[in-house]
Amino acid sequence: MGADLVVRFAGEGGQGQVTAAEGLAQAAARVGYHVQTFATYPSQIEGGPVWAQARISTNEILTQGDQLDILVALNRQAYETHISELRDGGIVIYNSNDFDTAPPGNAIGFDVDQLARDTGNPRAGNFIMIGSVAQLASMPLQYFTEFVKERFTRGRPNDQEIIDGNNKAIVVGAEKATESGYSVEALDEPPAKTGKRILAQGNNLLCMGAIAGGLEVFYGYPISPATTILVFMENNLNQEGQFVGQTSSEIESIAAIIGAGYSGRKVMTSTAGPGLSLMHEGLGLAWISEIPLVVIDVQRGGPATGLPTKTEQSDLLSALSPGHGDMRLPVIAPGSVADCFPAAIHALNWAERYQGPVMLLTEMSIAERNEDIAMPDLSAIQVESRVKSTGEIGNRRYAGREISPFPVPGTVGAAYVANGSEHDEQGDTTHMPQVHVDQTERRFSKLKLLETDSYYDSENTSASVAILPWGGSKGPARSAYNRLRVDGLDLAWYFTMFIHPMPPKLIEELQAKDLVIVPELNYLGQFSSVLRAMGINAHSITQYTGLPFKEGYLVEQVQEMIAAQSGKLVRA
């Protein structure tokens, strides 16, 4: 019996791989398994190589899995591309309608399309594959037939027909698997459910977190992999008084949320790398004119159009210091799907508290994967709102080095000019040296309001070497950390979603380490360069394939890095 099953469906766009992986995951989650999906696809509407996978486990899932237990290859190219990731003893299910030579090893070939047609529902191919997979892993077919019944009972006249067809397909797939005589290690019984759980994608959770955090106005422009945020907002940020607008460009998005933030509303936009570049000047304006707003950047491969549908963590430096001039923006980077909900609330709270722009940095791998997580606790949410002026300071909007009450347009006796030029306390443009000194220091000193020691997790902190992933590399790094610790390596663990400002106590602890290892998905080693500037001996494990880290790779790299540092592995 085993704890874990990784299944990949690969083929051409339009063959239902994503539906198959998600269907498998949903059905498994329903009976209590932990699940995580991952998909990668080309930047086109139809066709092109698409693969999607589901990992099903009795334990909490940290990565999409290093190796495949089952590969479903719908064409020869898919087979050739992915076969190297199949583990020893893994099984290939292939579409014999597409390629006729049976691959070597444990392979089951059948004509998926013909079998689907035979069930009476030509679109049931997904369920044939799911049936085969379930049989190979000795999962009761009943999990899936019940899921089909629930999913396709939609109150339409042909519901029963579709349900019957899909269930027939599951049985047909299972029979094909049985005929083959092959099987993978049977999956253990699902764990007992503890508390309410949801199956969610990162982008949707970001949206729900933002709405729970009091978001009122959202503007956005379609861009992969951030589009689902705009779509979710258009359909759900729809209470009386809320507003969502699709803009003509990211330049218009940032300008519009600056206007909306200035008007007193809680505001947000979302984008990906190219859009972030277009927002740079606007972010500078929000910083200098002190307008609270949140920009979500769902990172993808860059630069320029780069890898629009792949994952990367290469926008960090751009998020910290977008555009020109002296500024360093607050950056929050959730490390998992579950982190997305609180991250959005923190980001809005930060913007309100220090009255300025906040970057919420996530990435494609978190944005679009489905994962089962504990139901967020709504009763624990604390929503902050900016301190508002009632006219008591007149027009002295930018007075002193502390936060000032925010003058909301319409408030009598508090009119001022929000100014993107250097300005005096009432917003009048002036280029006097001392004013620029005072106002620059004012803007940076406000960041102190965001420093907090409450929000990072750590383990085995006495070790002299630490691993500190950021963003979506948290899961793979944690997975590697767990294995290294079991292997006896004395390694400290740290993670925070607060990239800037970082919790001061965390900085102190990291400064005391001999080595801080930073796994990150970029060439430059962006986060470690930031940490080194803070006096932390940080070095990166980099990867820039457009894909997330695998546990095995990180284990190797950590061992090599420590060996190179000390001449030998540090043993506990």
Binding site: R30, S248, A255, G259, P376, P409, A415, D424, D428
Partner: protein, 290 residues
């Protein structure tokens, strides 16, 4: 500002057309405050970058809320203000470089949304603040700092552009008639929809067009500026197009869409029509429950 910082270091050149425009804005806002019994703080004045954008700092008397942002984006910022706060009176001001070159991309979308706000464009046909480079409305063939062989591009015709992209209220005037201009700005603010008041506002240093606009019979120069004919029907788009294709600078209302429905009204009506279903965050999360 009313209590201006003595160190404030921006001044318009003597005779700048923008003096007339700021006066007109002050008059129009004062009239609005009196007529609607609405505090001036209910107005947000969003300015672009360039000589003209400094208008937001140079108003005398009671002050509205202001925003002096970045080059080319005043209209987009103003859209953000108005769409999220339909209760505010929103005005954006800027020059021909700001609104018709770097920021021209924002005209069409605001026109199509019909955002209920007023744009005042001060057209001096030159980049003044950067000392005399060709702008979109500089005439073809003119020698400027950046057009040593004479400007190769044809001049943009702003009024035709506004009509083409569907601006629902278009007026044209000159800065030397602040009272008439104030009345046009008032009409624009009262118009339920996206309005542009295009003002010829001469640059006395780099492109002094006062004489050309006003004419000089002694030199045999006919005035470019002329009143919109009394029989012009501003509700007739084709007549408006014919009018702006004539040579010269018309003074008055060029076009006013009689059926203009502004963005916030469209939004309210659409919400009622589709009977929007709202969900609490708790409901959204529950829908994902396994």
């Amino acid at each position: 500002m009313s209590k201006r910082n003595p160190e404030y270091d921006f001044k318009w050149c003597p005779g700048c057309g923008d003096f007339g425009v700021v006066r007109a804005v002050e008059l129009a806002l004062a009239e609005r405050v009196n007529r609607l019994h609405e505090p001036i703080e209910n107005t947000a004045l969003i300015a672009g970058i360039g000589c003209s954008g400094n208008l937001v700092h140079l108003q005398e008397g009671p002050q509205p809320y202001g925003f002096h942002g970045i080059h080319g984006r005043a209209m987009a910022i103003a859209y953000g203000v108005k769409a999220s706060r339909p209760d505010l009176n929103v005005i954006a001001v800027g020059g021909d470089g700001d609104m018709l070159s770097i920021g021209a991309e924002h005209i069409g979308p605001q026109a199509k949304r019909n955002v209920d706000m007023t744009i005042v464009i001060m057209d001096n046909g030159i980049y003044g603040l950067t000392k005399g480079q060709a702008s979109p409305t500089t005439l073809g063939g003119v020698i400027t700092a950046t057009t040593p062989y004479g400007k190769l591009e044809d001049a943009l015709r702003p009024l035709e552009t506004y009509l083409a992209v569907g601006v629902s209220f278009i007026a044209s005037s000159v800065s030397s008639k602040p009272r008439e201009l104030a009345n046009l700005i008032t009409e624009a603010m009262d118009h339920p929809g996206f309005s542009i008041v295009h003002v010829q506002s001469p640059c006395t240093t780099y492109n002094d067009t006062y004489e050309a606009l006003k004419g000089n019979p002694a030199k045999g120069i006919d005035p470019m500026a002329h009143d919109v004919p009394t029989n012009h029907d501003p509700g007739d788009w084709n007549a408006a197009l014919a009018l702006v294709k004539q040579p010269g600078v018309p003074i008055g209302i060029i076009y006013k869409d009689p059926n203009s429905v502004p963005l916030h009204q469209r939004f309210t009506e659409a919400r009622e029509r589709v009977r929007v279903r709202t969900r609490s965050v708790e409901q959204m999360l529950s829908a994902l429950e396994i």
